[in-house]
């Protein structure tokens, strides 16, 4: 039997803040994607490709987050029963979980693709994992399992980033980049927990939003500066 999506995801508390937050992240991500377009078209460099795809997936993920809220506002929350809230909730939640997981995997892959011997199998594996995460989020109604899963994912990300940092050519420059990436992953997980377990981080929601925006803006600033856009 299909479980109801978390009610917090379906009926957001602060619709205005959520809309603005998602909108800012979408704009930042799309600007990063757009700013790196020429560099990729000229070089066809795989690292740039995965980096761009990561931010495209971030934009798609937050679109799904934004999309459900936009629908609720646009069609009026009181009339929600008229257009199957479970279906809309599941569609948006699975879209968000899949896309944001893919974004994280692509960002990791962009720094590890040379060491992991680039192959299609890895991309298939990422897709499979992202689908599994989305399915677990929807069908397993046990928040404990979901928290443990996110913890395992965070440890894996930490492990990969430490390896990447050790192989980094410029340790000083690499340090700040990997700290930004690590924070980005931490806040992604906090964002997912905020959706899956609405009251778990309620007090810190605004802080999570502000830090997430700050991180995306930092990456955007670095991209615009280095890409000459």
């Amino acid at each position: 039997m299909v479980n109801m999506p978390p009610i917090g995801f379906l009926l957001p508390r602060d619709l205005g803040i959520d809309l603005i937050y998602s909108f800012v992240i979408i704009v930042c991500s799309l600007m990063i994607y757009r700013a790196t377009k020429e560099l990729y078209e000229l070089s066809s460099y795989k690292g740039i490709k995965y980096f761009r795809q990561a931010f495209l997936f971030f934009a798609i993920a937050y679109f799904f987050r934004y999309f459900i809220r936009f629908l609720l506002v646009f069609f009026n929350v009181r009339e929600i029963s008229e257009f199957s809230p479970i279906f809309v909730g599941i569609l948006s939640l699975s879209g968000f979980l899949y896309s944001s997981s893919m974004a994280v995997f692509y960002l990791l892959y962009s720094v590890m693709w040379k060491k992991w011997n680039h192959s299609r199998t890895k991309i298939i594996l990422f897709n499979t994992l992202a689908i599994a995460i989305a399915l677990i989020g929807i069908f397993i109604n046990n928040m404990g399992i979901y928290l443990v899963l996110n913890l395992i994912l965070l440890l894996f990300i930490l492990f990969v980033l430490i390896i990447a940092y050790k192989d980094s050519k410029n340790k000083q420059k690499g340090k700040s980049l990997y700290i930004i990436y690590l924070l980005l992953f931490v806040f992604w997980i906090l964002n997912v927990i905020d959706i899956m377990i609405p009251r778990f981080l309620e007090v810190y929601q605004l802080v999570i939003y502000l830090f997430s925006i700050l991180l995306f803006m930092t990456v955007l600033y670095k991209v615009l500066k280095k890409s000459g856009s």
């Binding site: 690292g47 720094v111 410029n170 280095k226």
Partner: protein
């Protein structure tokens, strides 16, 4: 001697063409590029596929290699591309 990366070899090939007034035959290009014939063929075909260079026939079936606009742009942006890759450890 440090081994050249793929992007660096591509930059070298494109730069040689530009320095020869954007007009060079494949054989002198191969000699100046300082890579094996097999790799040269592979690189040339990739550069053609990506529309960075173009092969033209002039006179009595004489093949020349020239840069496209995208090829010139690649040279202009090469440093930016490398800096970007270094900055984000890609």
């Amino acid at each position: 001697m440090v081994k050249r990366g793929k992007l660096e070899i591509m930059r070298d090939v494109i730069q040689i063409i530009k320095r020869n007034k954007n007009h060079i035959k494949p054989t002198p290009l191969l000699r100046k590029a300082n890579i094996s014939s097999a790799r040269f063929k592979a690189y040339c075909s990739e550069l053609v596929d990506r529309a960075l260079i173009k092969e033209i026939i002039e006179g009595k079936n004489r093949k020349y290699i020239i840069l496209t606009e995208k090829g010139f742009r690649f040279l202009e942006k090469y440093k930016t591309i490398i800096n970007f890759i270094d900055e984000f450890e890609l």
